[in-house]
Subunit: 373 residues, 2 copies
């Protein structure tokens, strides 16, 4: 149950509560990591994030590599200093964004050549380069460079891709210079259990500091996502942190925790906030709904976030209709508070050996909400 | 030098320092009022405004009348409660926006019929209606309904328009029900001194709680604006607050104070912030400038605002280039802090009977800056 950097404190069935020691501090798990793509969790200051209880944020290597560039960030003292956030940061490897944003040119065993989505310039990434960039950025947790194929692709493609990811994992591991920065391996294998198993064997043999489950939430059915997460998690080593990448809804996160996942990231709370979709203890609501025009109540009466302490749904709706920037921020505060608080409640339930009951009751509550959402 | 609500404390030549008692508190003058058109000073929370030292904000009657509507604001407890700001608020009369934003239909002695810029709906405003809307909103200072003609129009038009504004001023005064809400009259007259004089006589005879100088910064030459402000100010009663509407640059404000203006509002600090243009003690800079790409310094080393305490120009430039919403906010904090601090320094100079020297030195400093701005 112990390793030098990850310490499990409580286990309730498969759900886990622990502590992960990183260069910029110790984070408690399970943990939700807000996404700060370009070095800013959209609309929020780092100080607001801290007030919201965020312990670690994710920044995107692909984006920061293209703009402002890892060399500039390094020159300016690293990503923490650059963005004025002194708590831990995880950077992804850039792989996922290449597949989702860039105009893809070519994947070879060497790496990926692609066109920047910003200016069409041809750029390349390799495992070695992805690690060097992350070391320049100076994140606490780096991710190995992987291929993240769509779940629509056939078994043969996924099989080859999983092997490529395994080779890249080895090169990523070799490329690391600074061992104080944690490096996580990524398990791929699509929706095929045997490929997942093979991928785990390859990845775990390299003794990473933690393991991520990649290649999910990329178009597959929700139940398949659950099944593969569940299966993959059951084969991962107990003594290392487990990270389910890019997932998901509040429901997904609670279910993931029940499988033994420790870390999550997702743009959902922040992106939905900017689109007016808000999470509450009683389900989702859309703030533009006409029914809130004269509604003097906060988004969620039980919520203690800054937004709910100070503003009515009527005001938020007004700002949203008028496209006032303040609303994107107030909504983001609320949604992130919802996610972070939810994960903290999950921690408490694990500590109280009560997770199963907590999960069932919470899933029922949060599935209510506006009919139109 | 005294009236029940306005108390002059210090006079240095023509520059004045005083206190104005309003329903939601006492404000010190000279004062700069940030503009919160739709009930939000764009990107900022009311709590940030307070931290910045904002004592009073301006909201636009025209905008709030169209959306969400004065009736809804009234139902929800008035504008202060609606936007969660418990300090004073000034509302304009809606006049200026009709001329600048709406598709104008018809100005008659009765009022103005125009098309909403939001949905093209035909709406009308009269002096009586403008006051009723402002009373519904519940602002501390209401403005009389006026016509604000372009300075390009000929003398004959301005002459008639000034007479119309005088009639509307009388009707605005009669329409007021709640005398705890202050009502300011607006002096018009374009760039014609004799018409300004006539307008002052008309307006002052109605014994408003304060007097605004309207119809400037609407296309006339800067020196004409100064000359007319100077002249108009010299004819206004000493014992009432004087408000120069919609003005202006830091230089304009400092010069206005030297004429004896007490109150200012302008979108310049907030709008420029969103466009990347920042004010510093050594002149204006544009944050997108390539020269800031690796600049680890704050916008202004002497500035103590949140933005300057925490972020480098390199980071702000990066956010600006990436169109990250956070930068609009960080820039707004800086620019508003600059305006508010500048006016506070002006107050101190008046208290020290040192305004003339302060004005000269400060105008020299703030006229420096980027060559490209």
């Amino acid at each position: 149950m112990m390793s030098s950097t990850f310490k499990l404190q409580n286990i309730d069935n498969r759900a886990r509560n622990g502590f992960l020691k990183l260069n910029h501090g110790i984070i408690e798990t399970p943990v939700f990591m807000p996404v700060g793509t370009y070095g800013s969790v959209k609309t929020l200051t780092p100080h607001e994030l801290k007030e919201l209880g965020a312990e670690i944020i994710l920044c995107n290597t692909y984006h920061l590599f293209l703009r402002p560039g890892n060399i500039i960030v390094k020159e300016l003292g690293g990503i923490n200093r650059f963005i004025s956030w002194d708590n831990p940061i995880l950077t992804d490897s850039g792989g996922f964004q290449i597949y989702s944003l860039a105009e893809l040119r070519n994947i070879t065993e060497e790496g990926v050549v692609f066109k920047s989505h910003l200016n069409g310039e041809t750029v390349s990434l390799t495992p070695e380069k992805a690690i060097a960039i992350q070391e320049d950025l100076g994140s606490d947790i780096m991710m190995a460079f992987d291929e993240c194929p769509s779940s629509q692709l056939d078994r043969k493609y996924i099989e080859e891709s999983t092997l490529l990811t395994a080779k890249w994992a080895m090169r990523s591991m070799k490329a690391r210079v600074d061992k104080s920065k944690k490096l996580f391996g990524i398990v791929q294998g699509g929706i095929f259990k045997d490929l997942r198993k093979t991928s785990i064997e390859h990845t775990v043999s390299l003794d990473f500091d933690g393991y991520a489950i990649g290649g999910l939430s990329v178009g597959e059915d929700k139940n398949v996502m659950y099944e593969i997460s569940d299966y993959t998690c059951s084969l991962l080593p107990e003594d290392k942190p487990r990270y389910l990448m890019g997932v998901g809804t509040p429901e997904d996160i609670l279910i993931g925790i029940s499988y033994g996942i420790d870390m999550f990231d997702c743009v959902m709370p922040t992106r939905n906030a900017r689109n007016g979709l808000l999470f509450t203890a009683n389900g989702r609501i859309h703030i533009k709904n006409k029914r809130y025009e004269r509604d003097d109540n906060p988004i969620d009466k039980a919520c203690s976030c800054y937004t709910c302490r100070n503003f009515s749904k009527a005001y938020l709706r007004h700002l949203y209709k008028a496209r006032e920037m303040l609303v994107y921020r107030l909504n983001t505060i609320h949604n992130l508070n919802f996610y972070i608080s939810l994960v903290k409640k999950a921690r408490d339930a694990i500590k109280n050996r009560n997770y199963k009951k907590f999960l069932k009751e919470t899933l029922e509550e949060i599935s209510k909400g506006d009919n139109n959402v």
